[in-house]
Symmetry: C2
Subunit: 126 residues, 2 copies
């Protein structure tokens, strides 16, 4: 099983850095065969590139996880379109045996609330 | 002390719902005098509206926390501009005794990695 963390993409370097560090830490958990990043826009690899590479390398089950706080136009329209395009037309062949599962964004979670409490503490401590 | 959770804003309802639920849960912790939401765009209240309301109600210390996964143009340019505008010009008076502290985004955190593991589990269990 391969996990693809999908980020928004940004002209500034921070977003990609955060995604790559989350990827590295998720990989270190040792649960998944491969863990990769892909970006909806601006940064590379693109969603299409990364999915095609994983499929070409023989990964048969791919979980595409939007690393977004909440659903929005990006997670409900833009990313699903790119997931569909990855294995369409001339690329249909490399995706034909691949099970592609699209996950949910981070959403409401008590651990996010914990992090927010810490960020307030840090802000007032500076 | 008042905490303002700053969200991106979206035409779809999900982002605001997630923000309001995070706000409610943070408020339930009972740590801060007030916890509010404000939105960078589209949804209301705007950042300027919320800051002015808190200042008018007598809150003297406000922590504005960007509920974003990573720094980017929004957190380094757009939101700081709005924070500055909130107590500028004709509104300078209501902000003159207010200490406004701008916090950091969520960033890399092991608890985010924990959540991603859960989201992968949920996606494969469906």
């Amino acid at each position: 099983m391969g996990v693809v963390l999908i980020g928004h993409g940004s002209k500034l370097p921070y977003g990609k850095r955060v995604m790559e560090e989350l990827r590295r830490r998720l990989e270190m958990r040792g649960i998944y065969r491969v863990v990769r990043c892909a970006f909806m826009q601006i940064n590379s690899p693109s969603i299409e590139e990364e999915l095609r590479e994983l499929a070409s390398s023989g990964i048969k089950k791919i979980i595409a996880l939007p690393v977004f706080l909440a659903d929005g136009a990006h997670t409900t329209e833009d990313i699903p379109e790119k997931l569909k395009a990855a294995f369409s037309g001339e690329w249909a062949d490399i995706g034909k045996d691949v099970e592609l599962i699209y996950g949910k964004p981070i959403g409401v979670d008590e651990r996010i609330v914990d992090i927010l409490v810490d960020r307030v503490k840090e802000a007032t401590a500076r």
